[in-house]
């Protein structure tokens, strides 16, 4: 079966510090990978998605970046955090549309980031 991991679960960082959040998927290959942010009491905002190694699509211009160094690894980074970067960060994966099977998204447990 497939599983998705995110770490850390919680993080408190000062303004201006760097950020690195990691997401890994097990039990599948060539997944589409996604990073979302959820502000308090709000819906999900798509930040980045990737259809393959080194292929990143950015949905919202901001001080965040994403990388996919391996097939099942997706990393969200920032060089300098802003207060507005606080939120709940969710990683998700889905089978690519060419797989021929239904491809709902599967979500990780999330990372709660507080920027102080």
């Amino acid at each position: 079966s497939q599983t998705i991991h995110q770490w850390p679960a919680t993080l408190v960082q000062p303004v201006g510090s760097p950020l690195s959040l990691e997401c890994t998927v097990e039990g599948t290959s060539n997944p589409n990978l996604y990073w979302y942010r959820q502000a308090a009491g709000r819906g999900l905002q798509l930040l980045f998605y990737s259809v393959g190694i080194g292929q990143i699509s950015s949905e919202v211009p901001q001080n965040l970046s994403a990388s996919r160094p391996q097939d099942r690894q997706f990393i969200l980074s920032s060089k300098k955090l802003l207060l507005s970067d606080s939120g709940f960060y969710l990683c998700a994966w889905a089978r690519p549309p060419t797989s021929g099977s239904s491809y709902e998204q599967y979500f990780g447990p999330g990372t709660r980031l507080t920027v102080t």
């Binding site: 819906g43 969710l90 998204q105 979500f107």
Partner: protein
């Protein structure tokens, strides 16, 4: 372009009474639609999905949804609410390319004992 609209930001029901969470979609093709549930500080869990098969879709925890093309709706229902159903619910449509998913703004369900 694809989108979904969740018609209620908050729904409150008494325990044991029916639940109705409303979702309308916009799509230029036959859509794939999903409902997810999110409990506080947790990831999203798939409740059910519609992918052009039966229009009445049964999901986990007693939830079901009916795809109505004429009404462009995909409402989520449950005959009898439990306290454990209190959570945030999201309606989602997949893009025609299949690589993106478009989320509604969410409906917060409160269950009153």
């Amino acid at each position: 372009a694809q989108s979904v609209t969740q018609l209620d930001s908050h729904v409150s029901v008494s325990e044991g009474t029916p639940v109705l969470l409303r979702c309308n979609y916009s799509s230029s093709y036959s859509p794939s639609l999903f409902w997810y549930v999110q409990h506080p500080n947790k990831g999203l869990q798939l409740l059910l999905k519609y992918t052009s098969a039966a229009t009445l879709v049964k999901g986990i925890n007693g939830f079901e949804a009916e795809f109505k093309k004429s009404e462009t709706s995909f409402h989520l229902t449950k005959p009898s609410a439990h306290m454990s159903d209190a959570a945030e619910y999201f309606c989602v449509v997949r893009s025609n390319t299949g690589n993106q998913f478009y989320f509604g703004t969410g409906t917060s369900l409160t269950v009153i004992p």
